[in-house]
Structure formats: C-alpha cells, structure tokens
C-alpha cells in the first residue's frame, strides 16, 4: 500500500483516527534525509516555526538525550523517543545529518563532520529563501517561546538582545515561558516597546479579576486564507519558576477558555485555527483530544525534534526541537475552511551548509560586542563530553554540582532538570559563555540548608511525579533534578509516592530522622529547609571551580538506578533495541 500524506490525512479526518503508528510514518518518510533543504510546496499557506531557542544567537553543539523515560503508557511515543528508538520510529539512518541532529548516537564523531547547529543568521537565511520562493504574503513565522533566556547575552540585556534578533528574523507571533522570569514589568516593557511580533496568550490572566494580560489570539490573512492563531504560554510558569516574577498573574492550561476562543475566532470568519503553544508536546497531544476545532498546534517546551507531525483527531501537531537547531515548516492547502493537504519538514539549521544572512550576522556581532571579551575567556578543558538533557544525569550538571559541593561544603547537591544548556566536545576548551549557557537565570543564587531524610524522600517522590505522571496534564515537561552525594533507585511505572527506594547518602542508607546539609540552585527547594544560607550565583561558583581544576572529567555513568526499564531509549512496551 502506497499512502500519501494527503490520503493519510483524509483517512484520519474521516475516521477520526489518531494516526501516529510508526508503520504509517515509515511509509511517509519519502524525503531523503540528506536532501535537507528540498521541499515540495503545498497550498498557499506556509507556517514557519521555531521554539525554545533559549537565547542562542550563535551556532552551538547540542546533543539530544540518551535517556528519555516516561510513564508506562507514554514510553516510545512522540515526546518520549530518543536514540535508536527515535531512529526506528522515524526511519532515520545512522551517520546521516538527521541522525546527528536528532539523536545522541555517534554525536562526537558526527559533530566533526557536520559542525555546529543553529544560529539566528543561519535561520534567517533559510527564512529568506523560503519567503523568496513562496512570496512573503504566504508565510507566517511563529515562535513558541523560551526564546529570551538561556545565555549570557540574554541575561545581561534582560532579554533585549534576543528581542532584537527576533525582530531581525521577522517573527510575527510568539508566546512565552522563561520570558516571564525577567519579571512581569520587564516582559510588558519588551513586548510593548521593543518586540515587533505580537505576544499572545489566552491563559495568562489577572488572578483577581481573570482579565487577560495579553491578546488571546490574532487573525492574519496568509495566502488568501484567514488564519486565527490562539496563544498558550507555559501553563505551569508560576510553579516551575519562582512565583514572584509573575505576582498577580495566573496561568494554567485553561482548556475551557481555549474552546471558547476557538469558537469565537470561527464565528469571526477564521478559515483555520492554529494554537501557538508552550504546553509541551505530550500535553498538546492530550489537549487536542479535549478541545474541538483546532486544526494545527505549533508546540514547544519539551524540546522534541520530531521530524513528522502527530495527528490527533483532526489536529496536526508539530514541534521544532530546541536551541535554534531546526526551522519547522508546515505548508497547508485550505479549501472551504478545511485543510485538504499539508507537508511538513524540520529543516536542520546546519551552519556548515548554510550561508549566514550578512545583516543578522552583523547584528549578532554587535549584540555580543560589549561582552565578547568576558564571554570568550577560556577557563579550562574537558576530557569527556559535557552535555545537558537525559532524564536523571548529565555530565555538565555533574561539573556544576562538584563546584557547588566544594563551595558550600554540603552533603548533597540538587541541580535543576532544565532541558536547556549547551554541549562541549571532549578535548575542547570551556569558556565563560559555556557556563552561562548552563546557568543564565535571573535567580542564580546557590543556597545551603538542612532537610530531614524524610523530606528528601518526599521531595524526590514529588519531583518524580511531575516527570513521570501518566497523565500528560500533570507533567511539567522537565527532567528529574540531578543529585550529587545522593544515589537512589527508581521504579518509574510505580504509583505516585512509591517510585523511589534504596536511597543512599554518600554510601550510607538515608536516615529519615536525621538532618542533612543540602545545597541547591534554580528552584525554591531551600524554602522547605531550615537554616538556609545564601551563597554566590551558580555561574560564578562554577567558573571559579573550572579555573581552579583546569581540566574536568565527569563520569558518564548515571548515579540513579532504574529498576523497571533496561535502557534509556526504549520503544513502545518498554522494549530495548
């Protein structure tokens, strides 16, 4: 059976099926991964999409996870695919540029062959090409957020440098998450005075009156089609990040309100409805079942580089990786308010193969100029690959935790399980910029405090439930906090509160009644503890530590034992390849 995208979509539309079987997509995977700039246009609407740039204006190395585990029901589904399971699901061949961009397999060797990824000047060049081919009136460029935060240049300019870059890229519409950690006044200042894009969100409201802070939607004419775009900022912003940044604002998924706006834009004559979201790929797949009438979801937050859309009921859901590695392109043919055909591609932003846009390249240089000397300083070298991501452990986090342990003289270190950062190849220099790329937040202080053994156990269970809850609506889309000095065993598929066992603190069984000296950064953990003492910002501690030790060599092996799944990248049913 030879099934085209068009047939598939009609099939799904008529039968109301959720099409995400790997067999169907394997057949659809007719694009040779090596011909990565080819695209056969469809219809009159082109939606361009980036998400989770994390303020990376320049190309970088970014290794995808080697462990990406989830609740039993979600194992091996889009959103929880990595390594060989990812390659099998999407039909990707080893040693290709897609394998290099989308998986960790062969990363270090392929990095030498294919070079750095992303960079706004390179994205701009692709956008120019697409607009020239299609006609600018047929193109709408959207950004799912987590754009302003994640690097030194983002932090030092309180997001302004990144807004300048977005303006140069020609972003039309955006939503947010980490944007809010610059504080609500700064967000409003950047949105109202500097950002050329429209910042929309139907799920950010005044917590007393429920009045919306931003426009909930915008309707744009694209290629003769009235496209309504409704925004969802990250629903759990005040839970995952300190509340004080958005004091007086309330978030949440707000599916009921979303349904109301879908109906409203349709009554205003919208031909198709797009949800621009920072919900997370898995949450959006669940949301598409709850809200009727959304044609397309441009997702973000969970950083998945999904080369094919997921179709849930009649909704096409796509996501575009992270760190500027990809430019998503979704072409739509729309007839009588229905999508009758579509084509999708994630362009890998392979900087070695793309000529950068001169103007944007100059802008980036200019934006970096005040900080260039400070940020390019070499502070040490690494023997092993330094990376972020993975569900429980990653090497760059280990270096940061070593630094914190030395500085604070504690027994246990907790390090946040963010999914943004950078990658440094073995043998390469570590710069100040690299450290900021792992730690550039507006609440960088390290705290030392005391927790009882029981509190530590409860805390691990609480965090595990935010990561491994079987209902996507209750997941926060990050990874487990990393720990140093504390090892444990986890049964991911166990019920809430019963996942963690065999907890050891520096080799000894955790005593529930004893007080432990803990240090952490990037969260509100210290508020649960006693005798909290504030230390220096995490980037200063880490930079000084690397300068002192000169060469880092963190172990590659995780300190967490997984009891019920035998590998980091299982396929459906938890099988390992």
């Amino acid at each position: 059976m030879n099934i085209s995208r068009r047939d598939l979509f009609h099939l799904a539309a008529i039968a109301g099926l959720s099409v995400s079987s790997k067999d169907v997509f394997a057949k659809l995977n007719e694009v040779n991964p090596e011909t990565f700039f080819e695209f056969k246009p469809v219809g009159t609407v082109t939606l361009l999409h980036i998400c989770d740039l994390h303020a990376h204006l320049k190309p970088l190395y970014w290794r995808e996870p080697s462990t990406l585990l989830s609740a039993k029901e979600l194992i091996g589904t889009p959103g929880f695919l990595c390594g060989k399971a990812f390659m099998q699901y999407y039909g990707i061949k080893p040693n290709t540029i897609r394998a290099y961009f989308d998986t960790y397999i062969g990363f270090e060797e392929l990095a030498k062959k294919y070079g750095k990824m992303g960079g706004v000047a390179y994205i701009k060049s692709l956008v120019n090409r697409i607009k020239a081919e299609r006609g600018a009136d047929k193109v709408l460029f959207m950004d799912s957020g987590d754009t302003w935060q994640g690097t030194a240049v983002g932090l030092f300019t309180q997001g302004k440098a990144i807004v300048d870059a977005q303006n140069a890229l020609g972003i039309d519409i955006m939503v947010g998450h980490w944007e809010y950690t610059y504080g609500k006044d700064r967000v409003l200042e950047l949105v109202n005075k500097h950002l050329k894009a429209e910042f929309i969100s139907q799920n950010v409201a005044d917590d007393m009156w429920g009045d919306l802070i931003f426009k909930p939607y915008t309707i744009r004419e694209v290629g003769g089609v009235k496209v309504a775009v409704i925004g969802n900022s990250f629903p759990y912003t005040p839970i995952a990040n300190p509340k004080e940044f958005t004091e007086g604002w309330t978030f949440g998924i707000q599916p009921e309100r979303l349904q109301k706006y879908v109906d409203e834009v349709k009554s205003k004559g919208a031909d198709i409805v797009v949800l621009l979201s920072h919900d997370g790929f898995t949450l959006d797949q669940a949301l598409a079942k709850m809200v009727k009438g959304i044609d397309v979801i441009l997702s973000g937050h969970t950083h998945d580089p999904a080369p094919k859309p997921v179709i849930v009921d009649n909704t096409i859901i796509v996501i575009a990786g992270s760190h500027g590695k990809y430019l998503g392109r979704l072409d739509l043919e729309v007839k009588n308010k229905k999508i009758t055909n579509f084509a999708f591609k994630l362009y890998p932003v392979a900087s070695n193969f793309i000529k950068p846009d001169k103007e944007v390249e100059n802008l980036v240089q200019e934006l970096y100029k005040p900080y260039e000397k400070q940020l390019s300083e070499v502070i040490g070298k690494t023997q092993t690959i330094l990376y972020k991501r993975d569900t429980f452990y990653s090497t760059f986090d280990r270096v940061i935790m070593d630094a914190i342990k030395e500085e604070t003289d504690c027994e246990i270190v907790f390090n946040p399980g963010y999914r943004w950062g950078t990658t440094v190849l073995p043998g390469d220099n570590i710069t100040v910029d690299d450290v900021y790329s792992m730690t550039a937040i507006t609440y960088p202080d390290v705290y030392r405090f005391e927790l009882t053994g029981q509190q530590i156990k409860n805390l691990l269970e609480d965090i595990a439930d935010n990561v491994f809850n079987s209902n996507p609506l209750y997941q926060q889309g990050g990874d487990m906090s990393r720990t140093l000095g504390l090892d444990y065993e986890i049964k991911i598929t166990a019920p809430t509160g019963k996942r963690i066992s065999n907890i050891k603190v520096n080799g000894k069984d955790l005593d529930p009644n004893r007080n432990y000296v803990v240090a952490s950064w990037g969260g509100n953990l210290y508020k649960a503890g006693k005798n909290a003492k504030k230390f220096r910002p995490v980037y200063d501690i880490t930079i000084d530590y690397i300068k002192r030790v000169k060469v880092v060599n963190p172990p590659l092996k995780s300190n967490v034992k997984i009891a019920d799944i035998g590998c980091g990248c299982p396929t459906e049913e938890g099988k390992c390849l």
């Binding site: 009156w209 949440g252 963010y418 209750y474 926060q476 990050g478 906090s481």
Partner: protein
Amino acid sequence: MNRRDFLRTTSLTAVSTAVLGSAAFTDSFGAELVDNPPPKKSFDEALKEITGGKAVSDSDKVKLIAPEIAENGAVVPVTVEVELPIEQVKAIHILADKNHNAKTMSVYFTPANGKAYISTRIRLAETMNVVAVAQLADGSFIKAQKPVKVTIGGCG
C-alpha cells in the same frame, strides 16, 4: 477605563459581589473559624451530611473548572456551573476530599439567581480531589470531580 480599572476603583462590596457571583447565601466560612478550628470531618462524613446517605451519580451537567496543578494551594480557583434550569437546582456543595474538614463550601440558590454558577477560591492542604455536588430540587444529587495536584515546584 477598562473593566479592571473600573473594578479596582470600586468599593469592597463590588469586590465580594464579583467573587461570589450569583451566590445567594453561603455557609462554612466566617470569622468564627479563627478562634474555633473546625473539627476533623472526613469526606464520607461530609458527603453524608449533605446527602443524608443518598446516592450521588456522576453527571456531565456539573461543570467543574479547577487547575490540574495548583499555583498556590492556599487559594485554588474553583468554578462550578450546573447546566440545568435554576428552578431545578437547590444548592452546590464543594468538597475537598483530603482536607482536615472535607466540607468546603455550600451555596444555596433561588430562581432569582438566574443560573447555578459559583466561582471561588478554596484551600487544599495537599494533592487531592475537588468534588462538586449539586443538590437538585427533586431531592437527587449529581456530581463532578477533579484531581488537583499541590506540589512544591517544578522539576527545577
């Protein structure tokens, strides 16, 4: 002047009206709680007090809107609407099944209220189910429930 500005400049009376919506009469909240903490009341006890032991069936006529994960467990926004003519709805009761006192709020309606709708904020001591029970004029009870998670924070 938009609605927000307008409301901010009006009196406290307007504020309570806005928050309580069409509620005609409420019990279970008041100043006496400060001096006399309520006795422990389990979910089953609280439910029995409301229904007198009658069966309560799940119904999609009861629309319960609450967050999946609470931003602040001390003030969790909860909205309940019973999609039936007001004449058929006698009261809406809100229960929080693991709170010290599971009975959180009861709101009684008259036809003058127009529709059976309340919007309020409740305290949740930990992760639990919020249950909205509608007491109908014919003496029957229908309900909807939603788990709300109370967590220390994100995955960092």
